[in-house]
């Protein structure tokens, strides 16, 4: 049924939808390290770039099945993140942000000068030989990413990340190995960014190192700040809005980026915590369905 639906959507709309999907994957990735663990990364486009170039090269040189290419792109990206994260995640706040920023610039310059990535000309990526159409693949990956992120939030692992975000000294005193959790969180985050980058490369068919500059990192950050830092539904909403906004504002031709900027400013003035910041979406849904989760849980305790 799904292939029939995807076939019936016109290519332009489909392109917007796929962009939204990739945006969601990237935003959720950044949510893990910045939203949940509280470590500001201003260089996440670097991991997207690593995923995009390794994915493209895997397809060009080896012709691996597409789903393996996606997996390996993510893994390569997360391995780089683990290696770079071990030293730099000792820094906090602004210092870490500057460090990630510098790292992203280095990656960009390296790719601009490597023979294998075709230097400044960029790479043309062939359409992957896959049983599933590209939009469907993206949809599946988006769903898996959402499930994975939501699972992480509601787990022992996620609680440790949130503890680190809120108070490192207290978290350490609760027996949480801060360095290890930060690196793991960074690696997962980079995995998602790498997967997003790989999908981006194959969907667009052409990548250039300059596509993954500082602005791309800021785009990703705007998505999660707009949606509400640390909120999974917020990241999905923020990514959807910001990926689609430039297209919907297209009728304003050259003024559209101006309006886009103004929209961001207004949203931050009226919802400084983001659109879904501080809203427990799961509880909201349960209440709409007539379940009262909090009072129900309380009743259970009273009987104990």
């Amino acid at each position: 049924m799904l292939p029939a639906i995807t076939a019936s959507i016109d290519p332009y709309t489909m392109q917007i939808l796929v962009n939204i999907g990739i945006g969601i994957i990237l935003a959720l990735g950044l949510t893990i390290i910045t939203g949940l663990t509280g470590q500001l990364s201003l260089g996440h486009a670097a991991f997207m770039s690593i995923g995009a170039f390794s994915g493209a090269l895997l397809t060009i040189k080896t012709g691996l099945p597409f789903y393996l290419t996606i997996l390996f792109s993510g893994l390569i990206s997360s391995m780089v993140a683990a290696a770079i994260g071990w030293p730099i995640l000792r820094l906090t706040g602004d210092y870490l942000a500057i460090c990630t920023l510098g790292f992203a610039e280095i990656i960009k310059v390296v790719f601009l000068n490597l023979e294998i990535t075709n230097k400044a000309l960029g790479l043309t990526v062939p359409t992957p030989a896959s049983a599933l159409a590209m939009p469907l693949t993206v949809l599946i990956v988006v769903i898996l990413t959402i499930i994975a992120s939501a699972s992480i939030v509601n787990s022992r692992f996620g609680r440790a990340l949130k503890a680190i975000r809120d108070d490192e000294i207290a978290a350490e005193s609760m027996g949480i190995n801060i360095a290890r959790y930060k690196v793991q969180s960074f690696a997962i985050s980079a995995f998602m960014a790498g997967v997003g980058g790989c999908l981006y490369a194959h969907f667009l068919g052409y990548i250039n190192p300059s596509d993954f500059g500082f602005l791309k990192s800021i785009d990703m950050l705007s998505m999660i700040v707009l949606g509400g830092l640390g909120s999974i539904p917020g990241a999905v909403l923020g990514a959807s809005l910001l990926s689609a906004a430039p297209e919907f504002l297209r009728f304003m031709s050259q003024y559209r980026m101006l309006v886009y900027g103004a929209l961001l400013v207004f949203l931050m003035v009226f919802r400084p915590n983001g659109l879904l910041g501080g809203i427990d979406c799961a509880e909201l849904v349960l209440r709409k369905l007539g379940v009262k989760p909090r009072s129900a849980a309380r009743k259970q305790e009273d009987t104990q």
């Binding site: 994975a148 699972s151 992480i152 509601n154 787990s155 022992r156 692992f157 996620g158 609680r159 440790a160 949130k162 503890a163 809120d166 108070d167 000294i169 207290a170 978290a171 350490e172 005193s173 609760m174 027996g175 949480i176 190995n177 801060i178 793991q184 997962i188 909090r294 849980a297 309380r298 305790e301 009273d302 104990q304």
Partner: protein, 256 residues
């Protein structure tokens, strides 16, 4: 048997000797209070025990093994829990989540567990941690507030929540840094009974406190610190009569 032992422990911050060759023993199952004027180095001793600072000299051993120089998380996982003088709760998170974070070392499932939550063993562990957290909350009388954000609690309850969070480590040794600070007399009485019942449940308690009435009422032993050095150590009535202690608190004339 001594649970925790400080042997000639010293820490210097540049030229300042914050803790000067302190030797101290904490016996299993007792309530030991550490008192002393402001700036005597009481909280620094806690930070030394919990690994926030490594000692410059001397040794610290817990259950007979040296813990000097280990990281705070390793020491906590080994069974040393603490509260903080200036409350350090995870304010935006619920009361229950705070205690669940305290129960971190009681679980094993990590990232794989997070991604495979449907596995029965992951669910079992999560259920066990939840049970432990609720148990700790009811120990300090906060189970009813489990789903409220920690920052919305009144001050006294925040202090109790910190104790519950520390208890979730299921520690052998509980360090309380000024647990009664800012509490009214009624709350102090409740706290006193609470600390006693914690001790009776098998946890050794080591506390820093300024409130003398509280300290005298609760401690099995008292150690006194002045300018980084231990000047007395003994049962409450011995310490109260010790001339060196009276001098440190009230000045030279009072001791004669």
């Amino acid at each position: 048997m001594s649970l925790l032992m400080l042997e000639n422990t010293t820490i210097r911050f540049g030229g300042l000797v914050a803790v000067n060759s302190v030797s101290l023993e904490i016996h299993e199952g007792e309530i030991l209070a550490l008192i002393g004027p402001n700036g005597a180095g009481k909280s620094t001793i806690f930070n030394l025990i919990t690994g926030i600072y490594p000692p410059t000299e001397g040794n610290i051993s817990f259950k007979g093994k040296s813990i000097a120089g280990l990281s705070p998380s390793v020491i906590a996982a080994g069974g040393v829990a603490r509260t903080f003088q200036n409350i350090r709760l995870f304010g935006e998170q619920t009361v229950l989540d705070n205690v669940l974070i305290g129960a971190h070392t009681r679980g094993n499932w990590d990232l794989t567990g997070a991604l495979l939550q449907f596995l029965p063993s992951v669910r079992r562990e999560e259920g066990r941690l939840l049970e432990l957290a609720i148990h700790c909350l009811s120990q300090v009388g906060l189970a009813r507030k489990a789903y409220e954000p920690a920052c919305s609690l009144p001050y006294g309850e925040q202090r109790r929540l910190e104790i519950a969070r520390a208890l979730a480590i299921e520690p052998a040794l509980l360090l309380l840094d000024e647990p009664a600070a800012g509490m009214n007399p009624h709350e102090k009485q409740t706290l006193l009974e609470m600390v006693r019942s914690i001790r009776d449940s098998g946890v050794t308690v080591f506390l820093v406190e300024h409130d003398m009435k509280f300290v005298m009422g609760i401690s099995d032993r008292i150690a006194v610190l002045d300018y980084g050095s231990k000047i007395a150590d003994g049962r409450p009535e011995e310490v109260r009569a010790n001339p060196a202690v009276i001098e440190a608190y009230l000045g030279k004339g009072a001791a004669q």
